[in-house]
């Protein structure tokens, strides 16, 4: 019917041996909101990078307004009217709203008073619904949602015709998300095209006209939103064969409580949580970013401030106030950000692997090199880390191998309870599968594993019990037999039927 403003056909992109995109098609019409969905690693970000000019090493055809283009850099793409709002805000906190809007681009003269800037910024702020915001105030006085809107205003000020919004609501509450969605709708009505990327399927259904689905770097088609429902979309996103990545679950839930979480109230949760964990089970905490699942894990590990609560571990009540105390009680915690506090990137792999267990491999505080070698070699073998690379800096490893080191180092203290936040973030499919296998083996050998994840597959296929979290609340428990992708997805995105899907 309409002529698409942007049309991509048969685009492939590979990095070395990895094919990130395989003959992908994509298009968007004027004034359309196009949802772009897919699992982590499905190729969404690669596609977005190509569209917005960050990556031009692709094969295939990219047409803008009917002409074939190939952008050398993002600036050129922006000049052609394609602008992207990244998931992480790129605003400068101590500058005014107006200054942030005109940060880049040649819209304003080199010298302008803040008053002049504010006047010029006003129309753009109005366009995104921030009519009551004074453009001369510092941007960090705004809420995160409003800051996202300012970022969108900045894109509009650059005369963008195609806006790419990468998870604009990931860190926002319901109310602010709603505000963003309304704005997106309004901007689209004014004739601009919007590529909307989100893991929140409810949003996708609410605002998009069509949905482009990617799975493992392949197009699964562009489908009218009307013709889809949550179940069919999830099935298209995940595919079926992916179940094979996961180890077989045990047939019944274990009944030997090792850890009881009593009235634990970490920062970031709305109310205290209570639950029990059985010895040798894998318990999944499902929830999106900001749901509080990760905070519960961090609190159990003593890595996060709590308001109240305690743990009962093996019948003994205690509450670690630092990771050091948790480690002494054989509770290991692997955070979701391995670069920040999971790995010593500049140090060799071997030192990383033995870092929590220096006391184990030493006598009177003095280490013997051969003991350490042997010890870390065993750990590396167990976790399928290349033994020849033990003396390399861990920062040189790929994401998957880094994650194996970050996780594997905790085996050095033979933990009773292993807490893992996002066990496979930024990890390729092969390494993912290895990590799942290893986690199941550990559980079979009596280690209790609790993990938090935003990855719906992982939550569905790995654990035998799941607790779902939504916006700081523990919603409900799923037993072995009622773990289903669709019902969990519902519980972590829209448990109170707020969107009436």
């Amino acid at each position: 019917m309409e002529n698409p403003v942007l049309k991509i056909s048969n685009i492939s992109r590979s990095f070395g041996a990895i094919h990130a995109l395989k003959k992908v098609d994509f298009e968007i019409n004027r004034g359309e909101i196009m949802g772009l969905v897919g699992e982590n690693g499905a190729g969404k970000s690669t596609l977005v990078k190509i569209i917005s000019g960050f990556d031009n090493g692709y094969e295939g055809e990219y047409k803008l307004n009917g002409e074939v283009v190939r952008f050398e850099n993002p600036v050129k793409a922006e000049l052609s009217g394609i602008a992207i709002a990244q998931q992480e805000l790129s605003l400068i906190p101590n500058m005014s709203v107006a200054e942030n809007i005109f940060l880049a681009g040649a819209k304003v003269k080199k010298f302008a008073t803040i008053k002049k800037l504010s006047e010029e910024a006003k129309p753009y702020l109005d366009a995104v619904g921030l009519t009551d915001i004074d453009p001369s105030i510092r941007i960090n006085l705004l809420s995160v949602g409003e800051q996202h809107l300012v970022e969108v205003a900045r894109l509009i000020s650059h005369d963008a015709q195609i806006l790419i919004l990468d998870e604009p609501t990931a860190a926002l509450g319901e109310q602010e998300s709603r505000r963003i969605l309304e704005m997106v709708q309004k901007i689209a009505d004014s004739g601009k095209s919007i590529i909307y990327i989100s893991h929140r399927l409810d949003e996708i259904f609410k605002i998009t006209n069509r949905i482009a689905i990617l799975r493992d770097g392949e197009s699964q088609g562009i489908i009218n939103t009307k013709d889809l429902n949550v179940d069919s979309l999830v099935e298209m996103m995940l595919g079926r064969e992916l179940k094979n990545m996961f180890p077989v679950k045990p047939t019944k839930i274990k009944e030997d409580t090792i850890l009881e979480v009593k009235n634990l109230w970490p920062d970031g949760l709305i109310e205290p949580v209570n639950f029990k964990v059985q010895k040798g089970e894998i318990l999944g905490l499902a929830g999106q970013l900001g749901s509080g699942a990760g905070e519960v894990l961090a609190a159990i590990a003593g890595a996060l401030q709590i308001r109240s609560g305690s743990l009962v571990l093996n019948g003994k009540e205690f509450m670690p106030s630092s990771p050091q105390q948790a480690i002494k009680n054989k509770i290991a915690y692997c955070s979701s950000d391995r670069k920040k506090d999971g790995l010593f990137l500049g140090r060799p792999i071997m030192e990383n692997l033995t870092s929590p267990a220096l006391e184990v491999i030493s006598k009177f505080g003095i280490r013997s090199a051969s003991t350490e070698q042997k010890y870390s070699k065993n750990l590396a073998l167990e976790f399928l880390i290349d033994v020849k690379r033990l003396n390399d800096e861990s920062g040189l490893l790929s994401g998957g191998n880094q994650q194996k080191v970050a996780l594997g180092k905790w085996l050095s203290i033979s933990p009773e309870i292993l807490l893992v936040n996002e066990p496979t973030r930024g990890v390729d499919v092969g390494a993912k599968s290895e990590i799942y296998q290893r986690m199941r083996e550990l559980a079979d050998n009596g280690t209790t594993i609790i993990f938090a994840s935003t990855d719906i597959q992982e939550v569905t296929y790995l654990p035998e019990r799941v607790l779902s979290f939504y916006q700081g609340l523990l919603i409900r428990e799923f037993g072995l037999n009622d773990i289903k992708t669709t019902s969990i997805l519902k519980q972590i995105t829209d448990p109170f039927n707020e969107t009436n899907l």
Partner: protein, 334 residues
């Protein structure tokens, strides 16, 4: 070939430093009078020993990611007057006058306390620069207050001479101390759990905390080590001069005129990472000898203190530049 290039790159700074060493040495032998003599050699390693020992202490602080102590010369100041007070007045106790062990013990204790206090505040989250600037003021103030800013001298012969001016097998005692301390420090860093923790916490403090190695105890220990070694140097220096004054380490010392800058330069010129987690005391020792050699060369060529201070400044800038380039090339960025 690849290996050769990577190993060269890996040790780029060290290679450059060693090349400079050789050039300097050749220049010294052929173009400078009185350079290639046993006496001059002893002068060089004696100078290197004094700030080398302090720099080894500071290496622990820097490696552990706690940046620098800016109170080095002030710690040394209070320690050297404390030692001189002990030797000359016995801290008011008649029978302690001139007692080397008691003066040494009291001085080391003061050094350790000063270090531990600063380490405590740094470990609790204080900015190392601010904390130690404050510490510097307090320590120097106490030192001048205590002595009315006078020179405290104690008569020769005394029990401390063996440390100040004595020698063993032809080398000054202080040089032997430097060698022993360097070996001991390197052993601690390489083979003990504490040493490993220094590197781990220094390379990533958040990951250190997550694996149960807190920076609080780390900061206290490394600052105490550094200050204790400052105290030791201060004692040796006071023993050498048979006197002490609070400003000995600000005005009269070495080439740079400022002990703190000289010690920081020593750590940096050797190529230890300012951000922590990378380096060792061998680098520091080489840095100390290198600076001493250049300074010595400048003295023999008749330069007075102004240009020599410029020389030390240039060395710091040079080493920071090379290290920045080096770090950019080698570390995994992803």
């Amino acid at each position: 070939m690849q290996d050769l290039i990577s190993s060269y790159k890996k040790n780029l700074l060290l290679s450059i430093l060693l090349t400079f060493f050789v050039l300097l040495f050749l220049y010294g032998i052929f173009a400078t009078n009185n350079y290639f003599t046993w006496f001059n050699f002893k002068t060089i390693i004696r100078d290197a020993a004094l700030y080398g020992i302090m720099a080894i202490g500071l290496t622990f602080v820097t490696l552990s990611g706690n940046f620098f102590l800016l109170s080095i010369k002030e710690t040394a100041a209070i320690c050297c007057v404390s030692f001189a007070m002990g030797m000359s007045t016995g801290y008011g106790v008649e029978s302690w006058v001139g007692s080397f062990p008691i003066s040494l013990l009291v001085t080391l204790l003061i050094g350790c306390l000063a270090g531990a206090a600063q380490g405590l505040f740094i470990g609790l989250g204080g900015n190392p620069i601010v904390v130690t600037l404050g510490g510097a003021g307090i320590l120097y103030g106490i030192a001048t207050w205590w002595t009315d800013n006078l020179v405290i001298s104690f008569r020769r012969p005394n029990d401390a001479e063996w440390l100040g001016t004595g020698s063993f097998l032809g080398l000054p005692t202080i040089t032997w101390s430097f060698i022993l301390i360097a070996i001991l420090a390197e052993f601690v860093l390489r083979y003990t759990n504490f040493g490993r923790k220094v590197y781990l916490v220094g390379s990533n403090r958040a990951a250190g905390k997550a694996t149960g190695h807190e920076n609080l105890s780390m900061a206290i220990i490394v600052c105490t080590i550094c200050s204790a070694l400052c105290a030791f140097v201060a004692v040796a220096f006071a023993a050498q001069m048979s006197s002490a004054q609070a400003n000995y380490f600000s005005a009269e010392f070495g080439s740079s005129g400022d002990m703190t800058i000289l010690v920081i330069a020593t750590v940096m010129v050797g190529g230890n990472s300012i951000m922590g987690g990378y380096g060792n005391t061998i680098r520091t020792s080489i840095g100390a000898i290198f600076i001493a050699m250049i300074d010595n060369m400048m003295v023999l060529n008749g330069l007075n203190s102004g240009p020599r201070i410029v020389g030390v400044g240039l060395m710091i800038v040079f080493s920071i530049l090379v290290f920045a380039l080096y770090a950019k090339g080698s570390r995994a960025q992803e």
